[in-house]
């Protein structure tokens, strides 16, 4: 069923997701993206540069959070603009020896932030948190709605 602008109202929740993150996920993201900064996979290196431990790539968090929007709209290419600020690192514990146990859990909620009938778009505002604290701020995806 196609979503239309008239179905939407500001403040309406459109999606919600829980992203479980392991060290393996960060290694996969490093390989897929080409970002091999060791702060995302090496504990001693991360601590050596005054981080609390291995942290997720900000771009991993940004990239996975938007699935709440694409799952809702049904077409990933409907996201015509997507931005965020990275405010707090997502620390990923080493759970390698405990299969199925996440090293961090990221919670995502998307609500309609604005509706632009002239351009036939809606802005979805994402709340993205880990450990009860926001990790992305001003995370906004503009979605074209035909």
């Amino acid at each position: 069923m196609a979503i239309t602008l008239t179905d939407l109202e500001v403040g309406q929740e459109v999606g919600r997701s829980t992203i479980e993150v392991t060290r393996l996920d960060l290694v996969k993201y490093a390989g897929a993206s080409g970002d091999f900064n060791p702060i995302h996979w090496n504990e001693s290196f991360a601590r050596g540069v005054d981080l609390p431990g291995v942290i997720a790539h900000g771009m991993f968090t940004m990239g996975s959070a938007v699935q709440a929007v694409t799952d809702w709209i049904g077409d990933p290419t409907a996201v015509v603009d997507y931005q965020t600020r990275f405010t707090r690192p997502v620390v990923v514990e080493d759970t390698t020896a405990q299969p199925g146990v996440p090293g961090a859990t990221v919670e995502v909620t998307g609500v309609v932030g604005a509706i632009d009938t002239d351009n036939s778009t809606a802005r979805i505002d994402l709340t993205v948190s880990a450990g009860g604290q926001k990790v992305l701020v001003k995370a906004q995806a503009v979605v074209r709605i035909w």
């Binding site: 992203i19 897929a32 970002d35 990239g63 996975s64 990933p76 996201v79």
Partner: protein
């Protein structure tokens, strides 16, 4: 090491051609835990009107970071990569990125602001196909931490 304030307004020429591979889109989609069939299955993408599998919304970071590397690795810039923190990121898509696209990115240094002993640097990568079709604009700010930050 201090950031060269003359960086502002500088541009770096288009990067080497990046050919968007079908398997790379699938790999990247898996890596960001995307499940939409249009990333994996050409027929599902075709049903949405696309020539081949489509990239997830943040895929362009691969191309943008190759363009950024020109600045980071520029000895005149004075950027210590171990002190770089990603502060913000934006993607504006002019048209979807699809497997088979041949992309180039031109990098612009839009702003350099001193912050404490470090600097906030905002760059913009204009990504287009080799045929000249505008594909995406990505904007990124990095904070280069000073010695005491």
């Amino acid at each position: 090491m201090t950031i060269n304030p003359d960086l502002q307004g500088r541009s770096y020429p288009a990067t080497a051609v990046y050919t968007v591979g079908r398997e790379k889109i699938r790999e990247f989609a898996h890596a960001v835990k995307a499940t939409h069939p249009a990333h994996f299955d050409a027929e599902a993408a075709a049903a949405l009107g696309h020539r081949d599998v489509v990239a997830p919304p943040t895929f362009a970071i691969i191309v943008a970071q190759q363009a950024d590397a020109q600045l980071i690795n520029d000895p005149e810039a004075g950027i210590d990569f171990t002190r770089v923190v990603h502060a913000d990121q934006r993607f504006t898509h002019h048209r979807p990125i699809v497997a088979g696209d041949e992309l180039v990115a031109e990098l612009h240094v839009d702003q350099v602001r001193a912050m404490g002993g470090g600097a906030m640097i905002t760059t913009r990568a204009e990504i287009s196909t080799v045929e000249g079709e505008k594909t995406a604009t990505t904007t990124s700010s990095i904070l280069v931490r000073g010695e005491d930050q």
